[in-house]
């Protein structure tokens, strides 16, 4: 590299790793001591992201920037310039107040719970209303377990985004619709008519492509579980080029740490009973492990969390929550006669709320069911208790989704106190069919 080369050129070579150790040392020293050099590097980085942003924006608006003619000098006409500035200001304001410009890729058709949408250029719309039209770059975030957003894509297929999920719409083409599930759960139901465009879903650990398939995805930063219920889907690890086909009734787990081709296995049959000792293998969603102490059992202590509510201030909860499916690897199906037993204690007198979230067997979110148990029924504070409840005692929070838990799959099961920390701890959970 020429030492007399302009600074931007030397910085570009540094960013490409095309400098010797000596040159790197010299450039880093220059950056350390010269604010102007740092300003040049910052500007270069900002131009890189702004250029890409401008390209995305142009693509979303359906423009082809390459055919924009080179502008000719124009006479300075003050009134026109002032008007142009006003129009520009209005345009900028409009861009920031709407999610983004460009072709609509999806429409929000149903919303429950607390959700928000971040536009491609950062505009936020909270809470997310039904009817909002979404474009490339827009991101939906569901903020609570009971949040649920249903989208209709351009081809008529439906995407349902479950609670605590984040989904971003990507640039799509007539050949395929694309979304990025950053985390959480998603269900896809194909359009009624055949021949709709395939859907490509990127997650942190996988790329899933499906046409006329009904499937659901659970994605975390390190693992994705794909369950195909009807039709066929293809999935691959981001580091693998060859996809694996997953047929209806099969599932595949793709772990970031195992970049081998995923293996499709039959979906496990559901179970109707579950005894959870809260041992190390338990998939804990909320809770902290407490020393076994005098009880000689595993104990999960409640942890605080803010419960977001639409159009209201959030409520502070102290909760313990576990996932049966992630613990045993099989769906836990409730029956009309199922009973749920919680073993635990509270250190202070306080009503404890017990509940569970459900989804349809191999389907979408079906609501939460809860019951409050007053301290008089729990016994003296500090003493261990067992609460034995038939599922019929739990009231549905979303009766429009399902009025009864019978036939539904339990996605998580929990106990909590509202506002005050009562020192709630859970020692064991049982789901039994007498």
């Amino acid at each position: 590299m020429k030492t007399d080369a302009p600074l931007p050129e030397r910085l570009l070579r540094l960013l490409d790793g095309r400098v010797t150790a000596e040159e790197r040392h010299q450039l880093e020293q220059e950056l350390r001591t010269d604010p102007q050099a740092r300003a040049a590097l910052r500007t270069l980085a900002e131009e890189a992201v702004l250029f890409s942003d401008a390209e995305r924006t142009a693509a979303a608006r359906g423009e082809d920037p390459t055919i924009v003619p080179f502008p000719r000098p124009t006479p300075r006409i003050w009134p026109w310039a002032a008007a142009a500035l006003v129009i520009l200001a209005i345009g900028v304001a409009a861009l920031w107040s709407r999610p983004s410009g460009g072709r609509e890729l999806a429409r929000v058709i149903r919303v429950t719970g607390t959700s928000g949408v971040f536009g491609a250029r950062g505009a936020a719309e909270q809470p997310l209303p039904a009817g909002v039209r979404l474009r490339a770059g827009d991101m939906i975030e569901t903020r609570s377990c009971d949040a649920w957003v249903e989208l209709e894509l351009r081809d008529g297929s439906h995407l349902t985004v479950a609670g605590h999920s984040a989904l971003r719409l990507l640039e799509s083409s007539p050949a395929a619709a694309r979304v990025n599930l950053l985390r959480g759960n998603l269900w896809h139901s194909p359009a009624a008519q055949a021949g709709s465009a395939p859907l490509v879903v990127q997650t942190p650990t996988s790329v899933v492509e499906a046409g006329q398939a009904q499937f659901d995805l659970q994605a975390t930063a390190v693992e994705t579980i794909l369950r195909v219920n009807q039709g066929r889907a293809q999935v691959r690890h981001p580091l693998q080029s060859d996809p694996v086909e997953v047929a209806g009734g099969f599932q595949a787990s793709i772990e970031l740490s195992a970049p081998a081709p995923p293996v499709a296995t039959p979906q496990p049959a559901p179970v109707s009973t579950w005894q959870c000792d809260l041992d190390e293998g338990t998939a804990v969603i909320l809770g902290r492990r407490l020393p076994s102490g005098t009880f000689g059992t595993n104990r999960l202590g409640a942890v605080p969390l803010l419960w977001p509510l639409p159009n209201r201030p959030p409520v502070l909860l102290h909760a313990v929550s576990v996932s049966p499916f992630q613990t045993v690897g099989r769906p836990l199906e409730l029956r009309a006669e199922t009973r749920v037993r919680f073993h635990g204690r509270t250190l202070r007198d306080k009503t404890v709320r017990f509940g569970f979230s459900t989804q349809r067997m191999r389907g979408v979110f079906a609501g939460k069911f809860e019951v409050d148990v007053p301290p008089a029924r729990l016994g003296p504070a500090g003493d261990p208790w067992t609460v034995d409840l038939p599922v019929s005692a739990f009231r549905p929070l979303h009766p429009e989704l399902s009025s009864s838990p019978a036939g539904l799959e339990v996605t998580d099961i929990y106990a909590l106190t509202v506002i005050d920390d009562a020192g709630l701890e859970i020692h064991r959970i049982e789901v039994v069919v007498p």
Binding site: A48, L85, F118
Partner: protein
């Protein structure tokens, strides 16, 4: 007093270009940098962290963006730039102290980019939008590597002059 959700979102959106650029310096991929910015925003909005001031939020956001960038490099098995941490710290500090660029600068850059001839624009697109290295860009457009560095360097210089000129002109013409 702790920042509200709206305060956090407003502050991060004001710093969007700076945060994305800081992430870009680590990952050198504009799309990944945008994803990292969104992840940082998500974490700030949904995490349990509480921010007493915008300065505290920005400090956390720049640290988190850099950390997410390093994670992204590991996940994608990309080589780290290996720039000295002290330089990155100084850059982050400068960015935190810098005034928000605002929409006017973005619009000025978009207008300046419109004025770039198609050939030069293709060069920018290959390098920054498509994320190719300069060596790959050279191979694609059939010129030498040195020529690519020189052209990009000139383009950055002329873009900067164009943006500054437009902003100055807008300042003059503002009522």
């Amino acid at each position: 007093m702790k920042l509200s959700e709206q305060d956090i979102l407003h502050c991060l959106m004001q710093a969007r270009t700076r945060l994305s650029a800081a992430a870009w310096l680590v990952v050198r991929d504009a799309h990944a940098a945008e994803d990292i910015f969104q992840n940082v925003t998500l974490k700030a909005m949904t995490g349990r962290g509480e921010f007493e001031s915008e300065a505290a939020l920005l400090s956390w956001a720049f640290i988190t963006a850099r950390r997410e960038g390093m994670d992204w490099l590991r996940r994608h098995r990309r080589e780290s730039l290996g720039m000295d941490e002290s330089v990155l710290d100084l850059l982050d500090r400068d960015w935190q102290a810098a005034a928000p660029a605002g929409g006017a600068r973005l619009e000025a850059l978009i207008e300046c980019l419109r004025a770039v001839p198609a050939e030069a624009r293709q060069l920018l697109r290959l390098r920054y939008h498509d994320g190719h290295s300069c060596e790959e860009v050279a191979a694609r457009i059939g010129v030498g590597l040195d020529a690519v560095y020189q052209r990009l360097s000139r383009l950055h210089r002329s873009l900067r002059q164009c943006v500054e000129g437009r902003l100055a002109k807008a300042g003059e013409e503002a009522p």
